[in-house]
């Protein structure tokens, strides 16, 4: 057995060394300057939880998405799954999608990114900015830069916004209360991870594949068809 003549002193020194190095490292990551991470006033009033709609408001199946512009899984969903979703389900009128931003506290640049999307939305180009942000996430996220504002303003030019109007909106931060309200809406729905999709009244936290979403949509349409038939019979 390994209990003969244990080197207690050596052990104590080792534990102290680990404790000091570990506490030092954690202390450093907590107190280091967070660069572009904005301090959001917790007392900021709530604005309007405005979701951004894509597709026909009369589409039989409605999908609600809660996502964070700086979340890698959301970017994966937006760049890999969403193109199929748009092309095959939204453009064909089967589905509409409403997007709510849900800025997570660990992401340093998510508020400026959400702000950029809202300001692009003022000029009717929310989705163009949405795509730009997700497709270039690794160029403006908290690991890439501590000053994302310049990037956001560059994107406004890229997607042909009226840049001076965009900058006035972006710098005023007037949509911050709305972004906060959108996050509160996510919490009201019990959302704790991103992306979260709500399809047919059910929450899905996973990064769903197109095939899975298609199946859910088909099931919903089948249910609606049955309900419609039953309604006609009742009449």
């Amino acid at each position: 057995m390994s209990k003969k003549n244990p080197s207690k002193k050596q052990f104590t020194v080792l534990l102290i060394a680990i404790a000091v190095i570990g506490a030092g490292a954690l202390g450093w990551v907590i107190t280091r300057p967070k660069g572009g991470g904005e301090v959001i006033d917790p007392n900021m009033p709530l604005g309007t939880a405005q979701g951004f709609l894509m597709g026909s408001p009369d589409a039989p199946v409605k999908i609600v998405e809660f996502a964070d512009f700086e979340c890698p899984a959301c970017s994966e969903f937006a760049t890999l799954t969403e193109p199929d979703l748009r092309e095959r389900l939204i453009k064909t009128g089967m589905v509409s999608m409403q997007f709510f931003v849900f800025p997570l506290p660990m992401h340093k640049n998510t508020w400026p990114a959400s702000n950029a999307a809202y300001c692009a939305g003022e000029q009717g180009k929310f989705w163009e900015m949405h795509d730009r942000l997700f497709y270039t996430q690794d160029l403006w996220n908290g690991l890439a830069t501590s000053s994302p504002d310049k990037k956001m303003k560059g994107y406004a030019k890229d997607i042909s916004l009226d840049v001076s109007k965009f900058e006035a909106c972006f710098d005023s931060k007037k949509h911050y209360p709305d972004i906060k309200a959108s996050g509160a809406e996510a919490e009201r729905f019990g959302v704790s991870a991103t992306p979260t999709l709500i399809i047919g009244g059910k929450r899905y936290f996973e990064n769903l594949s197109y095939d899975f979403i298609k199946k859910l949509v088909d099931d919903e349409i089948a249910k609606l068809g049955k309900a419609d038939t039953a309604g006609k019979r009742a009449k």
Binding site: M1, S2, K3, P6, S7, K8, Q10, F11, L14, L15, I18, A19, G22, A23, A25, L26, V29, I30, K34, G35, G37, D68, C71, P72, A73, E76, L104, P105, M106, H107, K108, N141, G142, L143, S192, A193, T194, T196, F205, E206, N207
Partner: protein, 143 residues
């Protein structure tokens, strides 16, 4: 140094790894320092929450328990106590199973690997091997 001492030291390292991930979930450390793998993708996924609390929180609780058990086991009065060897095997065995489940989720469901989770899994496996060796050695020793 005895195996129990090494287990205690490893548990302390694991505790700091889990605390880092927990602080991330609390929004206190900004982005994770993670140049390899998809730490954020794993830690912002729905599977990073268990029973209403972040998995990292359970990791902290687990490593605290491991550290206390291993440290107590090194105390003079408990050094010969075989029950500690059994407790360490049970705790580390549970840790291995839990880590295996998390690793499976990363590979098969989330499709991203968090290097801190890998570090934690390696620590747990080493602790388990040491605990097993301790138990075997204990059995071989005549009472």
């Amino acid at each position: 140094m005895t195996r129990r001492m090494i287990i205690a030291a490893l548990a302390l390292v694991g505790l700091y790894v889990a605390m880092y991930l927990w602080l991330f979930k609390l929004g206190l450390v900004g982005s994770l320092a993670c140049k390899v793998g998809g730490c954020e993708q794993v830690n912002t996924s729905p599977y990073a929450v268990l029973l209403g609390r972040p998995v990292a929180f359970w990791g902290v609780a687990y490593y605290v328990a491991m550290f206390v058990a291993a440290l107590l086991g090194t105390a003079e009065r408990f050094v010969a106590d075989r029950r500690f060897a059994v407790v360490l095997v049970v705790l580390t065995g549970w840790g291995v199973l839990f880590s295996a489940w998390l690793t499976w989720l990363e590979l098969a469901v989330i499709h991203a690997v968090c290097m801190y989770c890998v570090i934690s899994a390696v620590i747990v496996v080493i602790m388990f091997v040491l605990a097993m060796l301790e138990l075997r050695a204990d059995r071989a020793t005549p009472a």
